[in-house]
Symmetry: none
DNA sequence: AAGCCGGCTTAAGACAATCTTAAGAATTTG
DNA sequence: CAAATTCTTAAGATTGTCTTAAGCCGGCTT
């Protein structure tokens, strides 16, 4: 089941932004709309974006500047919006990494078509690389290999029991996101059980932390979010 | 058995409106015909419309204006009718949200084809999937992520308790609107409780304001509207 | 201007989620 | 089959969070 693509729309002209939103939502895209650059940049950190539509002229930050920042940190296509007479900027915009540009005023249906084209192109190239099923997770000193069932932390091997490995795997593959102990339980043990004793999970977390030289009070890796669950940072 | 689609037709030229009606009825559509904008707008409130055909030039209200109002309140495709020489308006019409346009004079069968195309397109996309639940809210320096259960204000992280997070989430997702403490209570705690003690809500608001370096007397973010509730500005 | 009423503040006690520990049950291994 | 390892359960300790209540303050009304 494919998730609807998240599209970031940034334009200080509310009417334009709203128009784009209407059309994209009509195509069942998930639209994240902003009227200034700062909020948009903030949003990128929180959300996983699939495509961005940026106005060149923004009140706080130049659209090109945003585009550059996207290129540095992220990897999704960018479409720039530019007034018809800003001829020179076209080239500049493309040079700085935009994947396409649309001049205002534009026909909404054409805009939608271009968005689709970019998404198609992007997913096509990206469909090549990633293995259908993740087999290894590596980030910030932590490395997990599913088929080897091995784990190293800062090059030092950790000998984990099967359950511990599974828990860490679930946390790592959801890194950044808080996972409740109920969810963890179901991911690791399967849906067949219906115990309310998430205490079991807790004990394993405890063991994990011990082996990772982590602690509950000052967690370096597995953080507990009170009343919600556990999470491991990216 | 699929219900015949309701099609709203608005044109002050009676002959044109009648012509459209004849052809659409021939295709077994249910036609709601009006010769002015006001009656058409009224009708939309009463009836469930599937598609609208609007003339640009109307005696009382501009066709574009109607189109905008449809976009705000409803979610059905709009086809605009425009005289051949109104070249410039084509773009404007589309810009304001029309899904298609037909220039007069037109060939009735082409008109019918376009209606069918729009209905097909619309129902297809609407069958796709319901809009995914919002996961992040970002605006004017405030950023909330449900997944990460994190909150930042002007790039500075706020560590919120679960209840505080929920309250801020409700306020943020209703930004601009005043939310009464009763409503807040029900949104956050659920409908199972029936205490009238909105005092609890107040205390949490207090804590929130403290963490946001906000104050009741000179509120920057969470404003109290006397006798009504709380609100957070967009 | 005075008094009422709604909102604000504060802190302490109640409560609930998490942590820790250890022992016994289950499972795997030799 | 015995030993070792791993998993689960349970109970108490601990900590973070929520609620309650009482007094204060300030805007609204007469």
């Amino acid at each position: 089941m494919a998730m609807a693509a998240n599209i970031l729309v940034v334009d200080d002209e509310k009417s334009i932004a709203d128009l784009i939103e209407v059309y994209l939502k009509n195509e069942n895209y998930n639209v994240l709309k902003f009227y200034n650059g700062r909020d948009a940049l903030l949003c990128m950190e929180k959300e996983s974006i699939d495509l961005a539509i940026l106005d060149v002229m923004l009140p706080d930050i130049n659209g090109f500047s945003i585009c550059q920042q996207i290129r540095e940190k992220h990897n999704f296509p960018v479409i720039m919006l530019t007034a018809k007479d800003e001829e020179i900027d076209k080239i500049t915009g493309l040079t700085l990494g935009a994947d396409d540009y649309i001049t205002k005023p534009f026909r909404p249906l054409e805009m939608v078509a271009r968005v689709k084209a970019q998404l198609r192109r992007f997913t096509k190239y990206n469909a090549a690389e990633p293995a259908p099923e993740e087999n290894a997770i590596v980030f910030s000193g932590l490395a997990l290999s599913k088929d080897k069932h091995e784990c190293t932390l800062n090059e030092k091997p950790l000998s984990l029991t099967p359950t511990e490995f599974s828990i860490l795997w679930v946390l790592a593959s959801n890194r950044g996101r808080v996972v409740s102990s109920e969810e963890l339980f179901h991911e690791v043990w399967g849906d067949k059980y219906f115990t309310n004793s998430n205490n079991t999970v807790m004990v394993h977390i405890r063991h994990l932390r011990e082996k990772m030289q982590d602690s509950a009070e000052r967690p370096k890796y597995i953080k507990t979010v009170w009343g919600v669950g556990y999470k491991i940072e990216g």
